[in-house]
Symmetry: C2
Subunit: 237 residues, 2 copies
């Protein structure tokens, strides 16, 4: 049965981690708000009769279930899409990595919104400049150095984060590198030489035929300043 | 087999969500860093031979597995402790709520550290004051109003977040209310009348015999200004 993904239609945002998994698996899905508009998404999310309601997009509808929270959606999708480890320990570890990626994504978001999500970046620019500096200098190296270490320590080899097959976590880590390159090109150019396994993984994911097709298609929304990863001159360095 | 929990010994922090689940279930566990010291925890976490390595505490060791990320630990523990729904849809929804609680906890943390986690609160006090205002006025009502709505919409009744039994999400939501009351007593006193089901759930959890025993014991570390929920006069109002 076709998956129905509900997410904001004009940004990659958190929905992109789900889109990438569906695309990499060649799954049949509808990106509902892009096809039918945002009101169609809000009508589902705000249905007062809905017991399992989302706090926010993205959410997925499939076989009578509504599943929200990016990492939870990928936990649900992984086994069906062939993008989850088969053993229990591997699945828990893949989900752990997915949650660590979610933490990194939250921190990337807060570089441009350190004070108040309801205000514009321009209303919190001095604070954003200060937070982005700490993010570039301390947090990016800590997180990506961690993932480099996870790849190096994988008993099955550094081709994947967990075990010997592609998982949602690999795809999400690709997206994180793409996003950080977009938002912080100078910082990433300086830092990337430290992460050989990570960049090799990024390149392998980009070259997967279905992923490459997707990235070249109109389905891939370009990065922009409405999303999580935003390019503001003052925040890079 | 006894669970081994690894977390900072002087704060409730994120580890408290795990401690509460273990205590509420009457599980046998060791709080390793409290019993053996922080070096014992760091030795496990930084073991270069460890493939499934944590990014940060808390983590759990059990039956040869190391599991990190608070929500992932509870995903692992829930079924064994009798604190997870039995049906697939219920389990996914409980985990979704757990992840939404994690987002709220992150935002509560950032009220005192909006700029840089490696600096003191005192080094980012004006920014913290501004962020805390937005948190009190917009974010707390949005999150706790959401959980109130989830309780009201539970087809099994508003006694629990999911289905008709106690889950880790109920326990964690209790902890969130306790933490917010500690950190923002004035704001919470003003807001709480809006959340009848939520406060009733908080009271039922507090009265569970094992939870009440735990809260009255020395095992419950008092809230303090090293944890996530901190009481700073300037941040409440």
């Amino acid at each position: 049965m076709t998956y129905q993904l509900f997410y904001w239609p004009q940004i990659q945002g958190r929905g992109e981690f789900v889109r990438l998994a569906l695309e990499a698996a060649g799954a049949s899905y509808r990106d509902v708000a892009r096809e039918d508009g945002v009101p169609a998404m809000m009508a589902v999310m705000r249905d007062p009769a809905l017991a399992h309601r989302p706090f926010a997009p993205p959410f997925l509808r499939h076989e009578g279930l509504i599943v929200a929270q990016t990492a939870n959606i990928l936990l649900y999708l992984g086994p069906s899409l062939g993008l989850a480890p088969k053993d229990k320990g591997g699945r828990l570890f893949a989900h752990q990595l997915q949650l660590t990626i979610a933490d990194l994504v939250d921190e990337a978001h807060d570089t441009h919104h350190p004070i108040d999500v309801s205000l514009y970046y321009e209303d919190q620019k001095p604070e954003a400049t200060r937070r982005a500096k700490a993010f570039r200098e301390d947090r990016i190296p800590k997180y990506l150095g961690y993932f480099e270490g996870v790849l190096a320590a994988n008993p099955a080899g550094p081709q994947h984060l967990v075990g010997e097959g592609l998982t949602c976590a690999d795809l999400s880590l690709f997206q994180v590198v793409e996003g950080l390159r977009y938002a912080f090109p100078k910082a990433m150019a300086r830092l990337e030489p430290s992460w050989l396994h990570l960049i090799a993984l990024r390149n392998r994911v980009a070259a997967l035929p279905r992923v490459a097709d997707y990235l070249a298609s109109e389905r891939r929304i370009p990065f922009n300043e409405g999303g999580i990863f935003r390019r503001y001159e003052a925040l890079d360095g």
